[in-house]
C-alpha cells in the first residue's frame, strides 16, 4: 500500500517565489525505509513537516494513506498515522518523568487509562528503555533522550516514523543507539521509516535514498546506486560515506579496488586487491 504521496508539491515559507520545496513528486510504499539526504537548506525538513500536516503545501497535494493533508478533518488521523521525532531531544519532552511523557500522545488521542499503561510498556520495550520508566529525561544521555522521544511517538501507534535529523545532535554512541532502534522497528514491526539526515553513513542502512537539492528531488534510488554516482553527488555538496570515499581516492591513484560502502566491505575489497597484486 502507498504510505505517502507527493504530487508536484511546492511550499514557500514567506508566500513568495522562494520555494523551500519546489515541485516534488514522490511516492513511498508502506514498510519502506527511506533516507532523505541533502545539505542545509535543501528543503528536506520542510518535506518532513509537509507529511504530518505541520505545514500545508502552497500548491500540489500531499496524501498520507490516501488522506489529504489539506483536509482539516483528517489532520488528527494523519498525525496519528505519521509520527515525527525532531532534532533536539530537549525540546520535545513535555513531562518531567519518562512514563508521563510517553503517556502524553495517547492521552491526547483519548486512549483509555489501562491501554495507555500497556502502550507505555510496549513503547519502552521497543526502544530498550524499560529500566528508565520512572527516570527524569533531563538526567538521561542524548541517545537515551532521543529513544524516549521515539517511544513517545510509538505510543500513538503510528504506521510511519519520520525522523527529522534526529541523530544530528547526538554523539556517535547515541547515534548508533537510535539507528539500531529504527532498524529494528522497520524490520520487526514493518514500520515505514523516513530518515532525514546529512550523515551519509546512515543512509546506507536504508533501502532507498532520496537526494534533495534546492527544494527538488534530484536523485532517487538504492543507496549503493546513488553513491556510485559520486561526481553528481558532489555537485550537490554532499560527500560519500567514509569507506566509499577511501575507495574512490585509491581508484584515482591507480589501485585496482572495487567499490565499498561500509568498513567491512572496504576491508574485503582491499584484501582482494592485495591478494591479486
Amino acid at each position: 500500500m502507498e504510505a505517502v504521496r507527493f504530487e508536484n508539491v511546492k511550499y514557500s515559507y514567506r508566500g513568495d517565489e522562494a520555494f523551500a520545496v519546489n515541485g516534488v513528486s514522490l511516492s513511498i510504499e508502506e514498510g519502506q525505509f527511506v533516507a532523505v539526504l541533502g545539505r542545509n537548506g535543501s528543503g528536506k525538513s520542510t518535506l518532513a513537516k509537509l507529511i504530518n500536516a505541520l505545514l500545508e503545501p502552497t500548491s500540489g497535494r500531499v496524501t498520507v494513506f490516501g488522506m489529504d493533508t489539506l483536509d482539516a478533518k483528517k489532520t488528527f488521523e494523519i498525525r496519528k498515522s505519521a509520527g515525527m521525532v525532531f532534532q533536539n531531544p530537549d525540546n520535545q519532552t513535555v513531562a518531567s518523568v519518562v512514563e508521563d511523557d510517553i503517556a502524553f500522545g495517547p492521552e491526547n488521542i483519548g486512549v483509555p487509562r489501562e491501554e495507555i499503561g500497556r502502550r507505555i510498556e510496549f513503547a519502552l520495550d521497543a526502544v530498550g528503555m524499560q529500566a528508565f520508566r520512572k527516570a527524569t529525561p533531563s538526567r538521561l544521555s542524548g541517545g537515551q533522550k532521543q529513544r524516549v522521544a521515539i517511544a513517545g511517538v510509538l505510543a500513538i501507534l503510528p504506521r510511519i516514523l519520520i525522523l527529522d535529523e534526529s541523530t544530528a545532535m547526538l554523539d556517535p554512541k547515541g547515534r548508533r543507539e537510535v539507528m539500531e532502534v529504527v532498524k529494528k522497528l522497520n524490520r520487526e514491526q514493518k514500520m515505514t521509516v523516513l530518515l532525514i539526515t546529512h550523515f551519509m553513513d546512515e543512509a546506507l542502512e536504508a533501502e532507498r535514498a532520496v537526494v534533495m537539492h534546492r527544494g527538488e528531488v534530484v536523485m532517487d534510488g538504492a543507496p549503493e546506486e546513488i553513491f556510485a554516482r559520486s561526481d553528481e553527488l558532489e555537485s550537490y555538496n554532499l560527500t560519500l560515506p567514509r569507506a566509499a570515499a577511501v575507495c574512490k581516492r585509491l581508484q584515482r591513484e591507480g589501485m585496482p579496488v572495487g567499490n565499498a560502502f561500509t568498513a567491512e566491505e572496504l576491508a574485503e575489497v582491499l584484501c582482494a586487491s592485495l591478494q591479486r597484486g
Binding site: 513531562a95 492521552e107 491526547n108 513517545g152
Partner: protein
C-alpha cells in the same frame, strides 16, 4: 552558579505522606497555613509545631533535608525579624527596653519577632514537606483537579496545569543553558565577578538575551512536537495518572480537623501571646 536551585525537589520514598492524594495534601497545606496565622499564643503554636513534626515523621524524609529548604530563605526570615524587632508598634503600655527616634525595642516586640520568625519558618517547612513528597506532575494534576469548578466560568484550568508542568520540566534545561552561556561569555572575556551591583547586573545582559532568544526557539519547537503528538487541548483527552482519595487522606483529614479545632480552643482559653510577659512583670 545555579546548581542549588531546588525547585521541584522531590524526595523519592515510600511513606504514608507520599502515598496521600495530591489534592488532599494541597488542601492540608492551605489549612495548615491558616492554622499558623490563627495561632495566637505559645500553646497553639506548639500544637502547629507538633503537627509539622508528625508530618515530617510520617513522610520519612530526613529532617535535615526538610530544613535545607529553610536555608534558602534564612536571610528573608532574619531580615523581616530584625525589622519587626525595631519598627513594630506595640501600643502605649509596652515594656520598652530601649528607644531612639523611630526605633524602639520592647519585650512585646521581641515576642512579636519570635512569632513572625516562627510563622515564616513553619510556613516554609510545611510547603517543603508538600514538594518533597509530591512529584511535580502529581502537584499540577492536583491543582488542575482542585480548580475544576473554575471550568464552569470558562477558566482554562487544563491549559494552566499544562503550562505549569512544562515550566517545571524546563527549569533544569534552562539552568543548563544559562550555565553554558555564562561559560561561553566568560571564554570571550566577560567579567561576572568584579564590580559593584549595577556593573554585575549589566554583565548579565549578554547572558539573558541569548537565553530569551533560545527559550523562544525552544517554545516553537516544543509547539511543533506537541502538535505532531496530536495535542489539541483538553477536549477528548484522557489521563493516565489518576488521583485517588484513600483511607490515608481520611485519617489526615481528621488530624487536620483536630489541629484547627485545637488551635482555636487554645487561642480561646489560654490567652494572647503577650500573656507570657505577665510572668516577668
Amino acid at each position: 552558579m545555579l546548581n542549588d536551585v531546588t525547585f521541584g525537589q522531590y524526595y523519592p520514598a515510600k511513606s504514608f505522606v507520599h502515598n496521600m492524594d495530591a489534592r488532599a495534601k494541597i488542601v492540608f497545606v492551605i489549612a495548615y497555613i491558616v492554622a499558623i496565622f490563627l495561632a495566637d499564643n505559645f500553646y497553639a503554636m506548639a500544637a502547629v509545631v507538633l503537627f509539622l513534626a508528625l508530618a515530617v515523621l510520617f513522610s520519612r524524609v530526613p529532617f535535615g533535608r526538610v530544613l535545607r529548604s529553610v536555608k534558602m530563605i534564612l536571610f528573608v526570615i532574619v531580615f523581616t525579624a530584625v525589622l519587626n524587632l525595631f519598627f513594630s508598634s506595640v501600643g502605649e503600655d509596652a515594656h520598652v527596653i530601649w528607644e531612639w527616634g523611630i526605633l524602639s525595642l520592647s519585650w512585646e516586640s521581641i515576642v512579636n519577632m519570635i512569632f513572625l520568625a516562627l510563622r515564616l519558618f513553619l510556613l516554609v517547612m510545611g510547603t517543603a514537606v508538600l514538594t518533597l513528597t509530591t512529584t511535580p506532575v502529581e502537584l499540577t494534576d492536583g491543582i488542575e483537579s482542585l480548580l475544576t469548578p473554575l471550568k464552569w466560568v470558562r477558566f482554562p484550568v487544563h491549559e494552566l496545569a499544562l503550562i505549569m508542568s512544562i515550566a517545571l520540566r524546563f527549569i533544569p534545561t534552562l539552568v543548563d543553558e544559562t550555565n553554558r552561556i555564562i561559560s561561553a561569555q566568560k571564554a570571550r572575556g566577560a567579567d561576572f565577578e568584579t564590580g559593584g551591583l549595577i556593573r554585575r547586573a549589566k554583565a548579565m545582559i549578554p547572558v539573558l538575551i541569548p537565553l530569551l532568544v533560545s527559550a523562544f526557539r525552544r517554545a516553537e519547537e516544543l509547539g511543533d512536537a506537541m502538535d505532531a503528538r496530536c495535542y489539541s487541548g483538553s477536549k477528548g483527552r484522557t489521563k493516565y495518572k489518576k488521583l485517588v482519595f484513600t483511607w490515608r487522606d481520611l485519617v489526615g483529614l481528621f488530624v487536620l480537623a483536630a489541629l484547627i479545632t485545637g488551635v482555636a480552643l487554645l487561642n480561646h482559653y489560654l490567652g494572647g501571646k503577650f500573656d507570657i510577659l505577665a510572668y516577668f512583670f
